[in-house]
Amino acid sequence: MSNHLLSLLIWLPVVGAVPVLLAGAGRPGLARWISLLVAVATFAASLALLPAYDAATGTLQLGESLSWIPSLGINYSLAVDGISVALIILTTFVQILVIVGAWEIIQNKPHQYMAAMLVLEGLMIGVFCATDALLFYVFFEAMLIPMFILIGIWGGPRRVYATLKFFIYTFFGSIFMLIGLIYLYHKTGGSFAIADMANVHLTLTEQAWLFFAFLLGFAIKVPMVPVHTWLPDAHVEAPTGGSVVLAAVMLKIGGYGFLRFSLPITPDASHEFAWLVIVLSLIAVCYIGYIALVQQDMKKLVAYSSIAHMGFVTLGIFIAFLLVRDSNNPDAARLGMQGAMVQMISHGFISGAMFTCIGVLYDRMHTRQIKDYGGVINVMPVFAPFYVLFAMANSGLPGTSGFVGEFMVILASFSANPWIALFGAFTLIIGAAYTLWMVKRVLWGDIKNKHVAELKDVNGREIFVLSAFAAGVLVLGIWPEPLVHLMDASVARLVEQLAITKV
């Protein structure tokens, strides 16, 4: 059983989608309950990773390997380290909330919605488990199909434009990654295993080309400036659940890809071009923050703030190169990388929660324009505190999870270069500005129009979803130690790898 835990995690939701589809449009209740059951079972199975995984060593564990295409040396091989375990649990956790969140909101073909969500979940877990590059690529791309459907069927008025842009944009990035992977396959002498690719010697020129191939693939996914333009469209048009999954998990796959591919396979080129990524990350943090400030649409605002927060993830990952190779300060590098990981998980909770909150408002008012709201706290006293809490977390208030990761990354950048830290720290001001200003305009003040006056407060189902997110945000903010411990050894191994030159 425990030998196949990872396979179980991947295929349980995918196979679970079949009975959900079979339940059909005629029995939406049955479809909902089956999907909830599958999601909960997957979450329970993912919790079994915690005792099974030995966090002390940080190696890849729980491995399974089957020969998939023997004549090409492609294997169905899975394994996880601390980072993947954390991300898998985040995925399964968020998935339950998404399914509960969509419970009676999705009335149009709910069985297809739930099934697409479950398939998506399985594929995302697959991305976090794969240790064979081709298998990774298959999951990475296959993931686009259910998301395409989710945005396209259940999205807003411009959903077709948004979903086509999303699909083609991400496909564009990853196909060059595929060329890079085939090239590496050629170099390794016939292996797609990521570990073999990491051991291959590459000249700096080759590394540079590969680095940019990977960068294109993952930067679009994260997304980094200037290839972020698909994200606001996709977020605005996606149904609430789609936005939550997109922000909470899918974006993390970009950051995860950097760790799995760019760092070990092209360390020298990554070092060479670390400045580029750092500059892009700082642009994301500062400039995109300003863009968020002027948004009229709540979802768009949170989408831009996601880009800014993901800037910390890429900053934390690539600052490590400066620290290890230029300043010879592996401890700070570890701190920065650790911060990037905490930021990924924390952003998963916060952005998921923010999109859920906006979804709650949207379901009642059918508008996301900030100007249509005002004084919501007067009619939704239970909802408002949640909204304020997540807004505070989004602006990085100490005591919430938003603070921990950003603070670690800023500390680490300070050791590398105080200027980087200064620009990074800028987010604490600008982040507070755009989030709190939105809170002010939406929640506080007098009730300006009669639709707001008729708002009903959150029901039990919504309270459950919001409380679960709130628990995640607070626990991670007050007591991040278990998460840090889970990932610490794996991060340390990654940092060691950075120091080894391959040229």
């Binding site: 449009a25 998939w68 295409i69 023997p70 004549s71 090409l72 073909k109 297809q112 081709l134 690529y137 298959v138 791309e141 296959a142 686009l144 199909i145 395409f148 459907i149 396209g152 069927i153 959903r159 077709v160 979903t163 086509l164 699909f167 083609i168 496909f171 564009f172 196909i175 060059f176 595929l178 060329i179 085939i182 090239y183 396959y185 050629h186």
Partner: protein, 486 residues
């Protein structure tokens, strides 16, 4: 002298010719109400043919009639899939033909003759066999395209096909004559040996160019693609599916025999004319990818869209062939098989959704299919993503293999071109998915799957196979590799 052994090597072909004649006679004597028998019998005939191909397969490559006819692993794979796909097409075609009162007997007999043509073409060891196989295939196809003789579109397509096809055959024959003049042989192996031995290559190069025109026409590779859209659109869909799927296997077989066996091969150090034809194919590949994908974007007719998509897919097939080694051939053959299966399902969908007086051939006819027939919308989604090359569907792995073959041959640029056009191609496949899933159906155009149960079942299996084969393509690849290993 021909011996009984030669006949045995040719057994599947000989059997099919006899069976087709019997079917023709039988059809002439049956009452109209009993014509359904011909349908089922012809499917059985094809399946028995497929059995004979596999069952009598010798362990090593053998030749018959002094090298005219080769029976090796390559011909086995191509013949088997051609026969199986033809059987699938027959199932799809029945309700379509019945509703349109297109003569049954002629359709089946001509199709089986065309299949025999394919089998000769892919097993040719001699220029004459190549030409005979090709003519048998194309002459039957001209007649098939014109089968719906009251339709203006159909007749126009047949004339176009015939005129351009005859021109291409002429070119091919002209090229062959030059090669014969330079090498004094029609046998492909002898030609190969003569090419490797000679220094004087001008005449051979001329011959090669003309032969590549013939191959390009058969494949439908740009710039020899002009017939494809009109013929695809104008033919009865039951015939389009044949031209669009099984014939691609034949075209691959013909290219392999003429170019690799005949004109030179990079394996073994004796390159012959391989460097020259590699470059020519690379040019054809880039043009096909560009023209196929870009022009497909503006199509509103589904059959025309699939026609341009074929052109681009032949571009990918050529990307694999450019490798000019066993690895490239196996990648291309894998691609040809995967494409033939996928396009059979794509056209099969049009057949299954059509009904009398209504051809489901405009993209808009599929609007809101997910509302009416979610199952068939899902199948079409699989087909479209497979054509677009999105994992985990079958089509992706074909693309992976041909791109890999190009990179292995040191043609990274070609792989990048292939990748770029995959992105452009993605758009129009997604558009079909968009129409089915995101648009609301138009009143009065209620598209349903009305075909009979066997057609619906076979279509389901065909399309689901694209998903299943996406996980289990290892045996097929190993088989393709084995075919070229010896």
């Amino acid at each position: 002298m021909p011996s009984i052994n030669d006949i045995l090597i040719l057994l599947p072909e000989a059997y099919l010719v006899v069976a087709a004649c019997v079917l023709l006679l039988l059809d002439a004597y049956l009452k109209p109400a009993q014509k359904g028998i011909v349908h089922w019998l012809s499917i059985v005939v094809l399946l028995v043919g497929a059995y004979l191909v596999v069952d009598g397969q010798p362990a090593t490559s053998v030749t018959a009639f002094s090298g005219m006819f080769v029976r090796d692993g390559v011909s086995e794979v191509l013949k088997l899939f051609s026969l199986l796909i033809m059987a699938v097409i027959f199932v799809y075609a029945r309700p379509y033909l019945k509703e349109r009162a297109i003569p049954f007997g002629e359709f089946y007999t001509l199709s089986i003759f065309a299949t025999v043509g394919i089998m000769f073409l892919v097993a040719a060891g001699n220029l004459v066999t190549v030409y005979l196989g090709l003519e048998l295939l194309t002459l039957s196809s001209y007649a098939l395209v014109a089968l719906n003789r009251d339709s203006q579109l159909s007749s126009e397509a047949a004339i176009k096909y015939f005129v351009l096809g005859a021109l291409a055959s002429g070119m091919l024959l002209y090229g062959m004559s030059m090669v014969y003049g330079a090498t004094h042989s029609l046998d492909l192996h002898t030609i190969h040996a003569a090419i490797v031995g000679t220094e004087w290559k001008t005449l051979l190069l001329f011959g090669l160019v003309f032969m590549i025109v013939g191959i390009g026409f058969k494949l439908g590779a740009a710039p020899f693609h002009m017939w494809i859209p009109d013929v695809y659109q104008g033919s009865p869909t039951a015939v389009t599916v044949f031209i669009g799927s099984a014939q691609k296997l034949a075209a691959f077989g013909m290219a392999y025999r003429l170019l690799s066996t005949g004109m030179g091969d990079i394996a073994g150090g004796a390159a012959g004319l391989a460097p020259q034809w590699q470059m020519m194919l690379a040019v054809l590949a880039v043009l096909s990818l560009a023209i196929g994908n870009l022009v497909a974007i503006v199509q509103s007719n589904l059959k025309r869209l699939l026609a341009y998509s074929t052109i681009s897919h032949m571009g990918y097939l050529l990307v694999g062939l450019v490798n000019a080694g066993p690895e490239g051939y196996s990648a291309s053959m894998f691609y040809a098989v995967s494409y033939a299966l996928t396009s059979a399902a794509a056209f099969g969908m049009i057949l299954v959704l059509s009904r009398s007086g209504f051809e489901c051939e405009e993209i808009d006819d599929l609007r809101g299919l997910n509302q009416r027939s979610p199952w068939f919308a899902f199948l079409m989604l699989l087909v479209m993503f497979s054509l677009a090359g999105v994992p985990p569907l079958f089509g992706f792995f074909g693309k992976l293999l041909v791109l890999k073959a190009a990179i292995d041959a040191g043609m990274l640029w070609l792989a990048i071109v292939g990748a770029v056009f995959a992105i452009i191609g993605l758009y129009y496949y997604l558009r079909v998915v968009k129409v089915m899933y995101f648009d609301t159906p138009v009143e009065g155009k209620d598209v349903h799957a009305r075909a009979d149960a066997p057609a619906r079942w076979v279509l389901s299996i065909n399309a689901l196979a694209l998903l299943v084969l996406g996980f289990t393509w290892a045996p097929l690849l190993a088989w393709c590799q084995r075919a070229f290993a010896g």
